[in-house]
Assembly symmetry: C2
Homo-oligomer: 512 residues x 2
């Protein structure tokens, strides 16, 4: 991007701030909650269509691909594919985003209606504002800016937007495998970029080269066919809650230690190269206590120093107990014996853990613990979704392009970070296409994705659009042939895991 | 009641079946959920007013007494007092009922809208149909029948109806103490009757002379100020769910054994007289498995024989885990670290347990277990309501009157039973007035109070009205002075508890 164009582009974006907020408000107003398909499938479809119409207006060739995992019994939202500008001489960037959101109810403790975007003190409160509607839609506004300023896009841009991310991305993995085949939508993509995670802090941007995976479990116990009165029947039946509580209590201790045998078996050892990376990271323990909202309660974190805390957030597995479905969950008192309860918990996976191995050891553990209880109730456990961790390289040209774009907009180079969360699609894209995936977060660490009062800072909204725009110009400058034309053998998983290898950004033999 | 009048009365009731169902449908249509005052207080008030208007129409002198426990910050529904017919020469019967209901949502697993009374196969499905709108309103229809048949009520009848029973009867205890004072509403009452429990089976009626008490606990753990993303922050904070699950897991085992030290200290020993009572009770273990809805799941009860099962239902304490407030409770997957969670559990208390002693040992236990966890999270535990157990005498004239009325309507004498549930008001009335309280259930054992698909059989509705009507005539025949005029010293709690004493129905020295 020439300095001349970038100045015009930045000014254009700043002037459109109000318009971007209006459009985000429209999008947030569509409650596209993917974990509640029974009621919200039409909202997700509406959100996909709303986005398609904007892309069409901006000159894209779009398709609403029927979800390959949909069945007549379980309809699913389509996947939105689109391409802007097609010039075989140029590099092709594909960006991924999701248009569905986590559940949210005012009574969960939101200060405002979660589905009404509300501006306060330069922040935009609403479910999906930062995760991921705000960032995902920003790509469209980058295209719009180029059109209105009369400047050609420096790369071919493809969009891949789904509506099931918050519930395991049903159908997307099949779609990616299919579209990565020769001659299909993803075959000519040279670089991927995803903006669906967060800065490490509130003010300093970062690029993310590692993510944890996930294994989400549902542990069901049934004692009887329907709920009973605890006074009338208490003392005569084996209660399902007793069992589910006991079982959930065997999984993790109050210091976060996972008690399931075999879970730590495959965790990669820490190498000196990796350990050194942590030294330079800007990270303030006291600020983190504020962000994690513990300062006013216990003011204590699980680990006492920066390095061990970040390692437990990024490169060690964790286990969280999320809740129980089927039991009493309202305020006040209800004297019920719940008949069928489902304990929900998940593990975050790290290199080199595999979801299937975790599923196996968790099942074995829960079954052994259940046998100890001597309960005649019916117990079953299933892994509802699983995805391995992901590790890339901050030295890859794709990351370097993003680093330059960030510095151009923010005046400082980004931190190089990993993340505790999971974006399973990252590994899936790399595995299917062999191309590099960049995680380019534009939201702040305290945006409260998945929580009450999720928000998106107005400066992050405008600066985000600027960074994404400049990034496309930086990608266009990358030297050498289009990576998608390289027919070289990709490195094996083992070769990539050789200490230090991932740091150099190698993805295939020709890069060595 | 003369045979002549009773025949006319029975025929009158049978002919009005449709009208009674219509009125019950109106009442069930008012969602008077007392555990959700924030949204349903107006509905409870509406339900109280609806009932008052019927009582007024039938000639009662009524008062909506402001709830004595209400504050400007926490308004509460009024208490409805009414009196029909006042003749100082006649005995005075006061009946208690409640017009509030348990929470209910279609998605909890109801086959029909819980607040739309739905008739199917001779059963009336709806929240509050049997607990306690159906029975409570029946007294009004008894009065109506007497008026329309031109027969004077054989006793003075008073009604005492509240709207907070399912949430601890806030304000009612103060009201009863106040109204029991000389010259006030309850001072001249000779006999009390409550229809708010259930038969032991589906077809044979019973009278209930014992109830368990309750101690309901809320165990709160807070780890941070608001919910967090388990991927982004998992592994760095002490999670509240881990602690609350661990603590709830220390309370009871999968065989129903209470693990809290000191809970069993005050449980009355089983006497031979009491033990003998169990032998004659009609009770079918296989039918009970059906009723308790375990037959299609494990087909196993906690105890293998009639006597031990009924004892654990009626005269031993139990502990049930009801659920967790503040955690994820919906279907599907949510990757949340809940910030503040409240475990709900309750114990059913038996003679001679006291709620205050139970509160003390439970708190001590939970605090000791929490200390073992080494968690920096904030934990607090409170007993949100507590009530001691109640034990009366099946030989008291009040019970004998009900026994005769039951036999007249059903052609068989009632079983004499105790119950696992709690109706704390029973002891409160006895303690404040010194008069006998009769529990005269008219609903069947499988009515599913507090559960999904609560129902009221149409024969129970009509026969219930008949039994209550005949009961008033039988009370009128009781010989001797009005008990409320006896100024004799009541027996102490210890004297009443002498083995066998309660069987003879002694309440005061003059009865010995």
């Amino acid at each position: 991007m020439s300095d001349d164009f970038s100045e015009k582009f930045f000014q254009y974006v700043d002037e459109r701030k109000g318009l971007y907020i209006e459009r985000l408000a429209e999008a947030v107003g569509i409650p596209s909650v993917s974990s509640e398909l029974d009621t919200h499938l039409p909202d997700i479809v509406k959100m996909m269509t709303w986005t398609k119409e904007h892309a069409d207006r901006l000159g894209a060739k779009t398709t609403l691909l029927p979800n390959p995992a949909a069945t007549p019994e379980r309809p699913l939202p389509p996947i939105l594919l689109g391409e802007f500008h097609v010039d075989p001489a140029k590099k092709t960037v594909c960006v991924y985003g999701h248009l569905d959101v986590q559940p949210a109810k005012k009574e969960d403790g939101w200060d405002t209606d979660p589905f009404v975007l509300t501006e306060k003190d330069g922040k935009l409160y609403g479910r999906g504002s930062t995760d991921d509607k705000g960032p995902a839609l920003s790509w469209l506004w980058v295209v719009e800016a180029h059109r209105e300023l009369g400047v050609e896009l420096p790369v071919n841009l493809k969009i891949l937007y789904e509506g099931m991310e918050e519930f395991g991305s049903d159908g997307l993995f099949e779609c990616i495998k299919e579209e990565a085949k020769e001659g299909k939508f993803l075959d000519d993509v040279d670089f991927f970029c995803i903006s669906d995670n967060y800065w490490l802090g509130k003010t300093k941007p970062c690029l993310t080269y590692g993510l944890r995976g996930i294994a989400y479990f549902e542990l069901q116990v049934q004692g009887c066919e329907q709920d009973l009165h605890s006074g009338v029947l208490g003392g005569t039946v084996h209660e399902a809650m007793t069992d589910v509580i006991k079982l959930m209590g065997t999984l993790v201790d109050s210091n976060g230690k996972i008690l399931v045998k075999g879970v730590m078996d495959d965790v990669a050892p820490v190498t000196p190269e990796e350990e050194a990376l942590y030294d330079n990271i800007e990270f303030d323990m006291e600020a983190y206590k504020e962000e994690s909202k513990v300062s006013s309660v216990s003011n204590k974190l699980l680990h006492p120093d920066k390095k061990s805390l970040l390692m437990h957030r990024w490169r060690y597995p964790t286990l969280s107990l999320h809740g129980i479905e089927g039991a009493f969950s309202g305020p006040g008192a209800k004297t019920v014996i719940p008949s069928r309860v489902i304990g929900k918990f998940s593990l975050r996976l790290v290199p080199d853990q595999k979801a299937a191995q975790i599923e196996s050891v968790v099942k074995e553990h829960v079954e052994a613990e259940f046998a100890k209880l001597g309960s005649p109730n019916k117990m079953s456990i299933k892994m509802s979704h699983g995805a391995k961790a992901w590790l890339s390289s901050p030295n890859h040209p794709n990351f370097q392009a993003a680093s330059k774009a960030t510095e151009r907009v923010h005046g400082m180079p980004p931190d190089l970070t990993r993340e505790g969360g999971s974006i399973p699609i990252t590994s899936a894209i790399e595995d299917a296409t062999g191309m590099n995936v960049l995680l380019l977060p534009i939201g702040a660490c305290d945006d409260m994705a998945h929580s009450q009062n999720e928000k998106y800072n107005i400066p992050n909204l405008t600066n985000g659009i600027k960074v994404l725009g400049v990034y496309l110009h930086e990608v266009a400058k990358i030297e050498g042939p289009k990576p998608s034309t390289c027919k070289c053998v990709p490195l094996t998983e083992e070769e990539l895991m050789v200490p230090g290898a991932f740091m150099k950004g190698f993805r295939c033999k020709c890069e060595i």
